[in-house]
Amino acid sequence: MSHSTQSATVPHPAGHSTEEIRRDMRRYLIIGVALMIGTGMTVWASLIDFGSREINIVAALIIASAKGFLVAGFFMHLISEKKMIYAVLACTGFFFLALMYLTLLSMAHGSVIQIR
């Protein structure tokens, strides 16, 4: 490949200086480390006997949700995204929750509601 230019004129997005981008890069590295620690915590929490499998499930889902927040919030920049993206995600969240509600509803009407 011969496209190794370092000198292409790149417009920085409004309000993003080189120093700010460098600071963001350091933040990405810290979040990456936090995600890896979170992965270790997920495995560790799953190996603990809390006396009930439900607690293991809740612990794992809380850690996974925290990791998901870091990825979506910082890597996908959702903490500082445009309103239109939030609107799209709000619609998605609504239908996703409706899907989950229907799942729970079907379980409530069934004979088995205990997690095995």
Binding site: S7, T18, I21, D24, T39, T42, I85, M100
Partner: protein
């Protein structure tokens, strides 16, 4: 006629076309994986007592794959930031690592799949159960050779004790009632496992192909139109982070709980 806002953001929304497009696509992906997660919940909750498998997957391989994907997410976002600073060589390096991570993930996943396809549950005519990996070199027309163990019943098979003894087992074919590997047809757990991870692996493959195309054959766009190139990297990166996000939930659900 040139399509407006294919590179520059639209003034009222602050977004260029591809960014709106990828988020709408990701919204549909959330519903796709959401429906499959619901299927998983229903299958698990309605499984007969003690018949939902535990510890059937190698936690350490799953954890390695999780770390590989997280690492690749970091390199993707660093590559995008490098481009914003005009550092093309750094971008190439970071995205090269991303592609290697994607291949590593797929290799580990393939190994796990292969492990399930050579793993057999054998029910004998006298009711005993043998479970283990087939020894193809020692399996003949008359006998089946396994490296495995003898679970006392189906319930023991669902949650194998840690560190159970493994021995070489030779079973005459005449004594075999049924013999089935741990492919998607084995039970509802393997079915949902293969569907969820298979669909996810296809996403990893698709993402890797797109990232590779932008990184290699389409790299000339950087010299012609750097802003368009950065947008492409950003959009492919958003897809990649979503793939990582899905795996963050798949790993505990399938491997740990």
């Amino acid at each position: 006629m040139e399509i407006p806002y294919s590179v520059k953001p639209r003034p009222d929304t602050g977004l260029y076309n591809a960014k709106v497009g990828i988020w709408l696509f990701l919204a549909s992906e959330v519903m796709l994986f959401g429906a499959l997660f619901c299927s998983y919940i229903l299958l698990r909750v309605n499984a007969p007592d003690g018949m939902w498998p535990h510890h059937w997957l190698n936690i350490w391989l799953g954890m390695t794959n999780t770390i590989v994907l997280i690492f690749s997410s970091v390199t993707v976002v660093l590559s995008w930031a490098s481009l914003k600073m005009g550092q093309f060589k750094r971008y190439k390096l970071y995205q090269g690592v991303t592609i290697l991570c994607a291949l590593t993930f797929l290799c580990i996943k393939s190994y796990e799949y292969h492990d399930k396809f050579i793993h057999y549950e054998v029910i004998l005519t006298d009711g005993r159960i043998a479970d283990g990996h087939i020894e193809k070199g020692q399996t003949t027309a008359d006998t089946v050779a396994l490296l495995g163990w003898w679970p006392k019943d189906e319930a023991a098979l669902m949650d194998p004790p840690m560190g159970h003894p493994v021995e070489k087992i030779e079973i005459p074919r005449k004594q075999i009632k049924t013999m089935e590997n741990y492919g998607p047809w084995h039970n509802t757990y393997t079915a949902i496992y293969f569907v969820l991870t298979g669909l996810h692996a296809l996403h990893v493959l698709a993402g890797a192909i797109v990232i590779f195309a932008i990184w290699g054959p389409l790299a000339k766009v950087w010299e012609q139109d750097p802003e368009r190139y950065i947008n492409r990297v950003e959009v492919s990166g958003l897809f990649w982070h979503f793939v990582d996000l899905v795996w963050i939930f798949l790993f505990p659900v399938l491997y740990l709980l």
